[in-house]
Structure formats: structure tokens, C-alpha cells
Symmetry: C2
Subunit: 517 residues, 2 copies
């Protein structure tokens, strides 16, 4: 029922015309890679499979539909009530696969009516997951493999489920964890979190502390002594009390948000005072979090301070105290920070990651490419919107170094391309663009993931989140760096076989009326 009304409307027309069992092939694809980039990461196949396996109209839903289509025969609803995906086959790129414009990400084969009914839900289940996985992968490329990336976007996500998807698919795309407790619970992703400004604000003075002690030692006295010795007399005492209380509750996870009142004049001084005292008691403080201000400047100042204290107070571990940053971070900010230099170890990325602010929707579409064995085309005044007809195979050609050269689609029934064979790869629309390619290895990308007549979900089709995440990293290694580049990347070539090219242009001419001016 999570579908557009026009699917029901169309399916009723198919049924009336007795065309609902016609054998149809649909392909799901996007035309343009997101974020002004030249690659995307496939994600959402796991949810698609669960949806297909449970596809059914309930009696209650049929009652609603009967009211929406009062002129329809009861037989239609009986048929609808018995509909499932047993006659359907689904091919898909595995979650985590690098993909490009115009390529079939999913191919649905089966009766026309059911193929049509799956459209909207499949689009919904692929569009956002693939977008967020791509966004996450881009953030990972921006910081390199060593920095820690956490998803912090729950509060700004587009709905509760948008937040869950964000946590899941940003992890798939290369993040290390999330702040979302439910995502941790249900998906097993690492969760993390310390405290908010409200926590600091809730402490007005040292009087708010229940006790000055930790493990029988006077933490407050020690910390106050450091505060005084270091000349931090201006630091806010409410914040100081909050940090002491936090150290008493989380002595092994002492990481403080330092910008509630003033990062350099209060937050960091208070943190260092308490951290030194806590260290005296045998604990290893973790670090600080910055949530406002100039992150490059502040992080470098703080790192210099930590390094100085490490020396002056003979605490080598203080030099590597963790600096976490989390204020309005996005891909551009990460590159800018890298360029300027910073001392941040961990980034918490919220709004920009989860809502994909730079491009909040991936434009996947779902088009009929074949019916009853006849290839079909959809034309448009915009050339880029013309669809590629017929059931297609999709291959990735690699050179001997394991780097992808080009993706290649051919028509069903053509002889499969072979490694070492010289193949003409054509641009689908621009007949002048073509190249001979001799691939060292060839990887067919579409896998059969669902066969309703042979056990439903196919073995190996349902990958774990960890497997898909590892797949992303492996996939990105096979793509040229200039294709992955942040700004003005080199377009990756998606080509078609000579035969497919011919069919496309033949159908195009056949179906387009000659205009009259």
C-alpha cells in the first residue's frame, strides 16, 4: 500500500484488458550521479528483498481500495488479494557496489501487473539508502581512512525512519558509528555520545555536586588546585562542577563538550583541570568535543595546549587526547579543514549527512524496457531522459591492475564479452563517441537476488551490513582516483554494445513522430 495510486489505477486497467500476466521487464536506474560527483553506491537491496518476500494486500487494505474504485468488479479484488511475488525474478547490484548513471541497478521480471505495483516502493527503498551511502562514502574519501566518522543526525533527519536509514546506510558507506541508540540496538552499529550543553548548564556552581570525592579521593580539591596552578581563574565554575560530576560518573569515558560558555577561556581550562586530577586517580581521560567556532583554529590551539601540558606535567598521553568536532560539518568543510590543517581526530556529522543537504534526493526511476519479448523505449524532449530498451546485461571491464575501465551493457542474447577480446564500447546517445576496449577481467554486476519459483531470496543475496560496508571499501579501490575526485571529477564511461546501440536508435526513430513546424 506504500505506493502511488496510479499503480493501482494502471493495474486495474491491465487486469480489465487481461494484460496483467503479460511478461514484463522493468529496470530501476538513475540518470545522473549525485553530489556533482561521478559515482554512487548502491544500497537498499536488503530492504527490497524483505518487502518482496512479504508483498501482500491485507483484507483491510482491499476494503479501502474497494471504496477508492467503486466501479471495479469484485473479481479484481479477489485477484489482488491473491497476488504475491511468486512469479517474479529480481536481479540487483549487491549493496555496496559502485554504480553509475543509466545502469540498471535492479531488474524486475514477471507479470506486468506485479512489476508495475512494485515500482514506487522499490524506488523509495533504493533512492534514499543509495543516496546516503554515497554521501557517507564521499565523507569517508574526504577524511581518509584514519579519522573516525560518527553519524549525529537523528534530530534533524526526515522522520524517525529517515534517521534509522541514515544511521544504517551511512555506516554501510564507511562511517564508524552513530549517536542513535535504536540503530545501535537493532542494527548492531557502534554508538557513541557524551553530553550536551544542557548538561553543563544544569550545573550552576560547586554546590550542585553531591560529593567532591571519587574512589575516596577529593577530586574537586585536586582539580581546583590544577585550575589555580594553571592560571585558569576565569573559567566558569558551573561548567567546572559539571565536568567534575561527569568524571565521577564516567571516569573511564571522560570526554567533555567545551563550548558552552567559552571554549578557550573556560571549557578547555576546566577540562584540563579535571582531566589532570582524574589522571592522578589512575584514569585515562579521553578528550574534548567542539560544537561551535573555528574548528581548524580551535583544534590546533587545543592540541598545542594538550602537547604543552603533556610535557610540563609529564603526562605523555595528554598529547594524544582526542579532539571531536561536530558543528555543521559537511564534505566541503572536511576538505577545507584538511587544506587549512587541523588537529581533529573524530568528526560527528549530522544534518548535512542525513538530509543530504547538497542534494536531498537521488533521482532513481523505474522504466518498462520489455514487454512480451518486445523491447520498449520511452522518449523525451530531453535526450538524457530517453530510456535504454530491452533486457540488458551489465558488465564492468577492468585492466590488468584491477582498475575499472568502463561499464558495458549488452542486449540479452548477445554472446557474453570475454576477457582479452577487443570490444567496441559505444556511448548510448552520442554516436560519435566510441572506443575499443580489451578488458583483462570482466565482472557481471547484476545478480539474481529473488526468484519466486525457486525459493524466493537467493543464497548470498541478503548480505550483512558489515559485508556490504567492506564491499564499498573494496569497490572504491577499483575506481580511478580522478573519477572519485571531490570537484570536477572525470566522468566514468557507461557504454553499450553495438547491437544495443542499433536497437536503441531504431526504436527511437520508429516511435518518435516526425514533428511539424
Amino acid at each position: 500500500m506504500l505506493t502511488d495510486m496510479y499503480q493501482i489505477t494502471m493495474v486495474f486497467a491491465y487486469w480489465k484488458q487481461k494484460r496483467h500476466e503479460d511478461r514484463a521487464i522493468f529496470e530501476l536506474f538513475f540518470r545522473k550521479t549525485p553530489f556533482k560527483g561521478e559515482f554512487a553506491i548502491m544500497a537498499g537491496v536488503d530492504e527490497v528483498l524483505k518487502y518482496i518476500a512479504h508483498f501482500r494486500f491485507t483484507e483491510e487494505e482491499l476494503t479501502y481500495l474497494r471504496k477508492q474504485i467503486p466501479h471495479a468488479e469484485e473479481d479484481f479484488f479477489v485477484w489482488l488479494g491473491n497476488l504475491d511475488c511468486s512469479a517474479v525474478k529480481v536481479y540487483a547490484l549487491p549493496d555496496g557496489t559502485t554504480c553509475f548513471g543509466k545502469e540498471p541497478l535492479i531488474r524486475v521480471e514477471g507479470p506486468l501487473a506485479i512489476g508495475q505495483l512494485l515500482e514506487t516502493t522499490l524506488l523509495n527503498l533504493i533512492n534514499y539508502p543509495s543516496l546516503i551511502a554515497t554521501n557517507a562514502a564521499r565523507h569517508r574519501l574526504a577524511v581518509g581512512p584514519d579519522k573516525v566518522l560518527f553519524e549525529f543526525g537523528l534530530r534533524r533527519a526526515q522522520g524517525p525512519d529517515g534517521a534509522m536509514s541514515a544511521a544504517k546506510y551511512s555506516y554501510l558507506g564507511g562511517f564508524d558509528g552513530t549517536s542513535n541508540v535504536l540503530a545501535g540496538h537493532l542494527l548492531g552499529i557502534t554508538i557513541s555520545g557524551t553530553h550536551a550543553h544542557a548538561y553543563v548548564q544544569s550545573y550552576v556552581s560547586l554546590d550542585n555536586l553531591q560529593t567532591p570525592f571519587l574512589n575516596g579521593q577529593n577530586l574537586v580539591e585536586k582539580a581546583l588546585a590544577y585550575r589555580s596552578a594553571l592560571g585558569f581563574s576565569e573559567s566558569n565554575l558551573g561548567e567546572f562542577a559539571a565536568f567534575v560530576a561527569y568524571a565521577q560518573s564516567w571516569p573511564d569515558n571522560f570526554l567533555c563538550l567545551v563550548d558552552t560558555y567559552d571554549t578557550l577561556n573556560s571549557g578547555v581550562p576546566n577540562f584540563l583541570s579535571v582531566a589532570l586530577a582524574l589522571h592522578d586517580l589512575g584514569y585515562a581521560p579521553l578528550g574534548v568535543r567542539l560544537d561551535s567556532g573555528d574548528l581548524a583554529y580551535l583544534s590546533k590551539r587545543i592540541r598545542a595546549w594538550f602537547t604543552e601540558v603533556a610535557t610540563t606535567h609529564a603526562r605523555p598521553s595528554f598529547a594524544t587526547l582526542r579532539i571531536v568536532a561536530s558543528n555543521d560539518i559537511n564534505e566541503d568543510v572536511l576538505y577545507a579543514l584538511s587544506k587549512q590543517g587541523h588537529s581533529i581526530d573524530t568528526f560527528g556529522v549530522g544534518t548535512h549527512l542525513v538530509t543530504c543537504q547538497a542534494q536531498p534526493a537521488l533521482g532513481c526511476v523505474y522504466k518498462l524496457v520489455e514487454i512480451d519479448g518486445q523491447p520498449r523505449i520511452k522518449l523525451s524532449n530531453e535526450v538524457e531522459k530517453v530510456t535504454l530498451p530491452s533486457r540488458k546485461n551489465l558488465y564492468r571491464f577492468f585492466n590488468e591492475a584491477g582498475v575499472a575501465l568502463v561499464d558495458y551493457m549488452d542486449k540479452d542474447g548477445e554472446a557474453a564479452p570475454k576477457p582479452g577480446q577487443r570490444l567496441l564500447c559505444r556511448h548510448p546517445f552520442d554516436s560519435k563517441k566510441r572506443a575499443y576496449v580489451t578488458p583483462a577481467t570482466i565482472v557481471p554486476l547484476l545478480k539474481l537476488v529473488w526468484d519466486g519459483r525457486a525459493g524466493g531470496i537467493q543464497p548470498g543475496a541478503l548480505r550483512t551490513l558489515e559485508e556490504s560496508r567492506a564491499h564499498v571499501l573494496g569497490q572504491l579501490k577499483g575506481i580511478r582516483e580522478d573519477v572519485l575526485r571531490h570537484i570536477n571529477p572525470t566522468p566514468y564511461k557507461v557504454s553499450v554494445s553495438e547491437e544495443l546501440h542499433a536497437l536503441l536508435h531504431q526504436l527511437w526513430e520508429m516511435n518518435a513522430p516526425v514533428g511539424q513546424l
Copy 2:
């Protein structure tokens, strides 16, 4: 559990410090109105109330949390397991209320720990609904009251639930319906839909038709005769067949997508041929849908054509055939179309509406403003990020014509402002900006919606979607047009009382350390 880990972390610290029962007041607000506009529409209170009413940790969730905080005492989890919102009071602006930056949209009063635990979820439940309701209201303002607006964004929404929220809250903001069947089913919103390109593509020729007849009359023959008489010999016959089949299945809802092959050379000619034949059989065809091309130009050309056929074929009703448009429409496009002139009756708005492409996140925050009767402040290097301390009342002042003059916040305990009284309204941060206002009427905006000690959800707090939708329209009438304007709107003034102003600046000085350069 749909919360950030740091809420749990903080709450554990509060509990350890025996501060979890401290009486705290939190306020939820945004700083800046979205979409470069000067107003927003409040939405999501209904979901907030359901969430608060059911707030509980399950045993299974506690088991997960035990593993996350292995050093916590079992007593903590026992306490957490018994936690609910019975000691909490919630005040909120009713769904559909016009609101502005810095105003408390929701005020939560109760024990510190539970107030803290509600933060993330409340933000999630208000941010996106309010954003989409605002976006929808802006689209409604762009087209005026007479055009029909449908939400078509399910396939591009950020997750299944993002799509449901989009359908619901765009309706609240002034849309007329949705394509989303589940939203229709669960929320009672009008649904609509005809057919897709795939439907047209699935027909290759007239041979695909089961029968040429409708009600015993040869529809194909009649339609072909019109096609020939009107000189439409170039139109695509597969598309022609698809329209005939659609007319046979949906004779009372005959609305065709006309851009599969060529709008003016094939789609509209085929539609007109079949529509005339269908009309001969006693049915009233509905119109066409455009999904690509220049919508202003095409709609005017089509309208002229419809008008011509209405005259030449003596079918007056054809002059007002419906023209639906649905290609990448957003607020800017709607204004541009209005300016240029068009003949579209109904707009289907998808991606831009549901993902709020122009600004995909509303920046609501949730801040502690008072603890144990002491007002609290959060400072920041950015003045706009400084919070307004203390429990506040929020009023809207109107002139005698019922137009809003200014919003006004005062400190709890001040004498309530009275109509006819001259009041000094101050800008919270800029001490030079102030004005005397003598309101004709005063409306207090925050309503008690939840009182855990007095029956939970308060009478009248849970409004129906229809009530909230009507509220939006009423609210917008009370706001000056230049505040609602699309581009460069006049800022609406949000002011504070003299006392609140004094408190803010006193706390600011008290908490900010004096910097040293």
C-alpha cells in the same frame, strides 16, 4: 530508544549525582525561519503527544543498555525501567500555528532526567513535520487558493516514513491530496493517480487491445475516425491503444499522461481522439497530465487546442478539460509559471516538496532554560546562538484589524500584558532596537497539551489533521503579506519584555569569562 546515546550518558550522570529529579525546564525552538522566508508552520505536536504518552523502556532495551554501560549499577536500570512521563508537563503551539525564530514552540517541564531524555525524539518529531508544513504552505501561497496541489513525492522521500510524514504534513500545510495510497488509507487524505509512462509503453499497437468496444459501441473505430479527421496521422499508435484501453477501464476518470513520445505531436492528439469518442458515448473526459517540457508553453498550447475543439466540435466542456503538471515543480517554478502565464489547473509536486530541497532540515534545538527555579543561559561566539533564559510566556499582539504586530515573550511571574496597554517590546540581543506597542488583542500561544499528573493528553490538544489544516489557513490571514512574501520578506518582530531583556544580559555577563588577548 530513538535517541542519541549522549542522553543516556547524561542521564546516568544525573542519576549518579542524584540530580535526576531536579525540576528542569527545556524549550524547543529554531533560530532562523526556513526557505529564506520569515515564517514557519508548527507541526508534529500530535506525534509528540503519542510518543510522550507511550514513553517507556522495555526489558529488551534495558538489556541492550546494560551492555553499553557495564559499569552502571543495576539500580540505575531499575529506575530507568520505571520511568515514564507522569511527572512531566508539556506546553506547545497547536499544530498549524504560524511561528518565528527564537520562540519556544514546545516547553517541557519536569524532572531533569526525563526532560533530557525527550530531547532528541521531540526534535526529530517536530523538525521535519514543521519544515514540510511550512514548505507546503509556501507552495500554497505561490499558487493561490484556487489551484489544486497534490503531493507526488513518495518515491523520492527519505525513507518510507519520510514519505508518510510528507503526505500528512503537506496536507496540513495546505495541499489537497497525495498520490500515496497508504497515506490515504491511514490518514484519510484524498488520493489521486492516473497512469505512468510504463503503461503507455506497454502498448505496442492496436493488437494489444482485447476489444475495441466500450458498452457495446466501437470506441476504437470512433476514436480512429477523430484521429483521421483532425489530421493526427503521425500520432503513436501504441500510445493511442493505451489511451483507448485506459478509457475502457476508467471511462469516468479519463486523464492521460501525454508526454511518453511527443506531447504535441502524439500525446494530445491521441488524447483528443479518444476523448471525443468517449464523450460521444456519454462520458466526461477529465484531461491530461504533463511530466516534461516547457509547462507554461505546452499548457497554453493545449488549452488553446482544447478551446478550439470545444468550439469546432460543439463540446463546451472540452474548454475546461483539466491540465495537470508534474515535472520537477518547486516554489520558484510556481512563481515563474504565474509570471509567465500558464493554463495548468493542478500541480503534482514531488521531490522538491517532500525532501524540502531548498532547505532539507529545520534547525530546531532543545535547550535548558531553567533548573530548580534558576534561569540558565547557553552562550556562544555566535550571538544568534545565545539562548533566552527562564520559563517564558509567548504572546502574539494584534492590531484592531486582526493583523499580527509583534510576538512578545515575558518572564514567568511578570504581570500578563493587557490589550490597550502600551508595552515596551525589546529586541532580545540588540539593545538599540525597541518599540512601544499597544495591542488591540493579545493571544497567548503556548497551550498545556500534556500533564502527566492530570490525565495526560489535555482536552483539545490532539487536533485532527483537518482542524490543523484549517488553522494554517486562518493563521496566515493574520500575518502581513510582506512577511509572507516569497523573496526578501519583511522580518516579523519577535520581542522580549524589559525584565526578560535585563535577565538575559545579566546572565550573559555573569557566565561569560572575560577573554584575554
